[in-house]
C-alpha cells in the first residue's frame, strides 16, 4: 500500500455515529472547523490555515505539519514516489510495551514509521527527499528511521540527485537502546560518502529537532536551514536548567537563537520554502556558464 492511499482513506473516513456537542464544545472553538493560534491567540478557519500551509494567517506561527502535508506542499504534484514504505520496527531489546506503542502510533498516524522517504521533484528539480513526522513516536530515530534515511541517501547517490531532508524528531529512540545511537553514525557515514561523491545535502530543521537527530544528519547539510520558531537543541531545556541553575533566554534553542549563534544558513518561512529551495537547487544545477 502506498502512503497516499493511507491518507486518502483517512481523509474520507466517515463517522459511524452521531455526535452531540457538549456544553464546553459549544462555547469553545468548534473543533476541526476553526483553529486558534497558540502564539497570537487569534482564531481562523482550519481550511484557510491548511491552505496557507499551516502558517497562521495573522502572525506567521508555524503549526506542526505532518509528512503527507509536507509532500503535498513542497513536492511537485504527482512526482512523489515513496520508497521503502514497508519497513517496520522490530523489538530488538524486547523492550516492554514497545510493539504495542508502535502499533498504536501506526494507527494514529497512518504511517509505518517516523520518516517517509521517496523520489520526487521540487520546483522541477529531481531529488530524493526524507520527511520526518513527529506524530509517530515523537519522530524518534530507531533502526528503521536510520535505515530508511541511509537508503534514501544511497538512492540519491545512485541517481546523482540532491538529498533533501525535513527533520522533526525528539532524538534517538530509547526503546532500541544502543542500536538507535548507532543510527546516528550510520546516517552520518552515509552522508559523508554521498558528500565525497559531490552530492548536495540540504537539511531543513522543523519543530522540534533535538538530541541524536540534531547531533547527526540534521546538522550535516551543505545548507542547514530551519523553519521559524522551530526548537532545535542537543539537550533539553529542563536538563540544562537543572545542570546550570541559570536563567535561560526566552528564545533559547529556537531557530532564531541558532541563526544568531552562527549555526544556521537561514530561516525560511514555509510560504517561501519551495521558492528558496528551488533557488539553491538551481544554483547547484551543473553546467552554469558565464554569459
Amino acid at each position: 500500500m502506498a502512503l497516499k492511499d493511507l491518507f486518502t482513506k483517512n481523509q474520507t473516513k466517515k463517522k459511524k455515529y452521531a455526535t452531540i456537542p457538549t456544553e464546553a464544545a459549544k462555547s469553545d472553538v468548534p473543533e476541526g472547523i476553526m483553529t486558534k493560534c497558540p502564539t497570537c491567540k487569534k482564531i481562523m478557519y482550519s481550511k484557510e490555515l491548511s491552505k496557507n500551509l499551516m502558517v497562521c494567517l495573522h502572525c506567521g506561527h508555524h503549526f506542526p505539519m505532518n509528512a503527507k502535508e509536507r509532500i503535498d506542499s513542497f513536492i511537485d504534484e504527482g512526482s512523489f514516489e515513496e520508497i521503502n514504505e514497508n519497513m517496520i520496527s522490530k523489538n530488538p531489546l524486547n523492550f516492554p510495551d514497545y510493539l504495542e506503542k508502535l502499533e498504536k502510533d501506526r494507527q494514529k498516524s497512518q504511517l509505518n514509521e517516523a520518516v517517509v522517504t521517496g523520489i520526487g521533484s521540487l520546483g522541477g528539480h529531481k531529488l530524493v527527499v526524507a520527511i520526518m513526522d513527529s506524530s509517530f513516536r515523537m519522530g524518534s530515530m530507531g533502526s528503521v528511521v536510520g535505515e530508511k534515511i541511509t537508503l534514501a541517501i544511497e538512492k540519491a547517490d545512485e541517481l546523482g540527485v540532491p538529498f533533501v531532508i525535513f527533520t522533526a524528531s525528539g532524538g534517538a529512540r530509547m526503546q532500541e537502546g544502543a542500536l538507535s545511537l548507532m543510527q546516528m553514525a550510520k546516517t552520518s557515514v552515509a552522508l559523508k560518502k554521498f558528500s565525497d561523491n559531490g552530492g548536495l545535502i540540504i537539511s531543513i530543521m522543523t519543530h522540534p529537532t533535538t538530541g541524536g537527530v540534531s547531533a547527526s544528519f540534521a546538522s550535516l547539510g551543505d545548507y542547514n536551514l530551519a523553519e521559524p520558531g522551530a526548537l532545535i537543541a542537543f539537550a533539553g531545556r529542563r536538563v540544562i536548567e537543572q545542570s546550570i541553575r541559570e536563567e535561560l533566554p526566552e528564545d533559547f534553542q529556537t531557530a532564531e537563537f541558532l541563526l544568531k549563534h552562527g549555526q544556521l544558513d537561514a530561516i525560511i518561512s514555509r510560504l517561501d520554502m519551495v521558492e528558496k529551495i528551488s533557488t539553491i537547487l538551481d544554483i547547484h544545477q551543473p553546467g552554469g556558464e558565464l554569459a
Partner: protein, 325 residues
C-alpha cells in the same frame, strides 16, 4: 577499601576473615592451616561466582568508580613519548578531552580520549569528563592531523555524555558531534575505539566512529543513562537498576547486538584493582587489531568503517510479518 562495591562484599569479608586468621596463627599457638585452606578454597569459589556473574547494575557501579582508571592512566602505561596537544584553535582548550601524539610499541599514533577527574578539584577542571563543542573540535583537529601524517588513531571513550549547558548549545554541541561522526567516516587511517568507563550517548559516539570498537568488560555504552531511562519509563529514577538490564548497556549485551567487536577482559573485580595489568590486556588487543588494520589501504579502511556501521540495526518488512501475526 576504596572502590569496594556492594555486590562484592561477601568476597571482601571472607578475605578479611582469612587474613585475620592468618594474623592470629602467627601470634598464637594454634594450627589453623587446614581451616585457612578450606576458607581459601571457599574464597576462590565465591570469587568465581560473584565476579563471573556481575549484574548489569553492578557493572554500572564499577564503570562509575571514582578510582577507575582514566584515559591518562592508560596512556601512561600503553604509550611512550606522549605529547599532549591543546585547544581547538578557535575558542578554547576543553580539558574534558585530552589528545596528542605518542608511540605505541614504536609506532607513531594519535591518542584521544575523554578525561574525567578522580577528585572534586580535578573534576571541576575536567568538567566531570563532559565535553563542550570545543572538546570535540579539538579531537577532530587532531584526527585530521593524524590523517595527514598517516598515523593510526586510538580513542578512549569515558563520558557520561556531552555537557548539557547554555554555552554548549550556543556554540553548537549538536553540530560538533555530528561533524565528528561525519569526518571520522572519511579518515584514511585505522581508528580504534575503546570504551573504558561510561559511554554516554552522542557525547561518547563523537569519538566512536572507528574501524574497531572494543569495550572493557565492566564498561557501559548507552543511548541514555539508566537513571534517565527509568525516569521516562517508570517515572522514577530509582528504577535505574531495572533500566540497566532492559537497556542492554553492558559489553556482553552490546557484543551480541553487533554494536561492538569484542570485549576486553578485566582484572577480577574491575580494572581499578590493577591498572598495569589492565593496560596489558588492552595492549594485547590493540596490537592484534592494529596489525590487521595496517594491512588495509586508506580507501579500504573507509569502506571497512562504512560497512561496520551500515549493517547495524534490526527491522522487518511488513510482507515478512504476514502470517506471523
Amino acid at each position: 577499601m576504596i572502590g569496594e562495591l556492594e555486590f562484592e562484599r561477601p568476597v571482601v569479608e571472607l578475605r578479611k576473615k582469612i587474613s585475620e586468621l592468618k594474623e592470629f596463627t602467627k601470634n598464637a599457638d594454634v594450627d589453623l592451616s587446614s581451616e585457612i585452606k578450606k576458607l581459601e578454597g571457599r574464597l576462590e569459589k565465591l570469587e568465581q561466582d560473584i565476579y563471573e556473574n556481575i549484574k548489569p547494575w553492578d557493572r554500572v557501579q564499577i564503570a562509575r568508580l571514582a578510582n577507575r582508571p582514566t584515559t591518562l592512566d592508560y596512556i601512561s602505561f600503553l604509550f611512550e613519548d606522549f605529547f599532549e596537544c591543546h585547544g581547538d584553535r578557535t575558542f578554547a582548550d576543553d580539558e574534558a578531552i585530552v589528545g596528542g601524539i605518542a608511540k605505541f610499541k614504536g609506532l607513531p599514533v594519535t591518542v584521544i580520549g575523554h578525561q574525567r577527574g578522580k577528585d572534586t578539584k580535578e573534576n571541576i577542571r575536567r568538567n566531570f569528563g563532559m565535553p563542550h563543542p570545543e572538546g570535540y573540535r579539538k579531537a577532530l583537529r587532531l584526527m585530521k592531523q593524524a590523517d595527514k601524517f598517516n598515523r593510526p588513531i586510538i580513542c578512549f571513550i569515558d563520558t557520561k555524555g556531552a555537557y548539557p549547558g547554555k554555552a554548549a548549545e550556543e556554540r553548537g554541541q549538536s553540530e560538533a558531534i555530528a561533524r565528528n561522526l561525519f569526518e571520522m567516516a572519511g579518515l584514511k587511517v585505522p581508528v580504534i575505539c575503546i570504551v573504558i568507563g561510561e559511554g554516554g550517548s552522542g557525547g561518547a559516539l563523537a569519538l566512536g566512529v572507528g574501524n574497531r570498537i572494543y569495550m572493557l568488560e565492566n564498561s557501559t555504552y548507552s543511548v541514555i543513562s539508566p537513571e534517565g531511562a527509568a525516569a521516562i519509563l517508570w517515572k522514577d529514577a530509582s528504577f535505574a537498576k531495572n533500566a540497566a538490564e532492559t537497556m542492554k548497556i553492558t559489553a556482553p549485551d552490546l557484543k551480541e547486538l553487533g554494536v561492538i567487536d569484542d570485549i576486553i577482559p578485566e582484572i577480577k573485580g574491575g580494572a581499578h584493582k590493577d591498572v598495569q595489568k589492565q593496560a596489558e590486556e588492552i595492549e594485547k588487543i590493540l596490537s592484534a587489531s592494529l596489525q590487521q588494520l595496517l594491512k588495509l589501504s586508506g580507501d579500504e579502511l573507509i569502506s571497512d568503517r562504512y560497512n561496520r556501521f551500515r549493517s547495524i540495526g534490526e527491522f522487518a518488512l511488513i510482507n515478512d510479518l504476514i502470517g506471523v501475526k
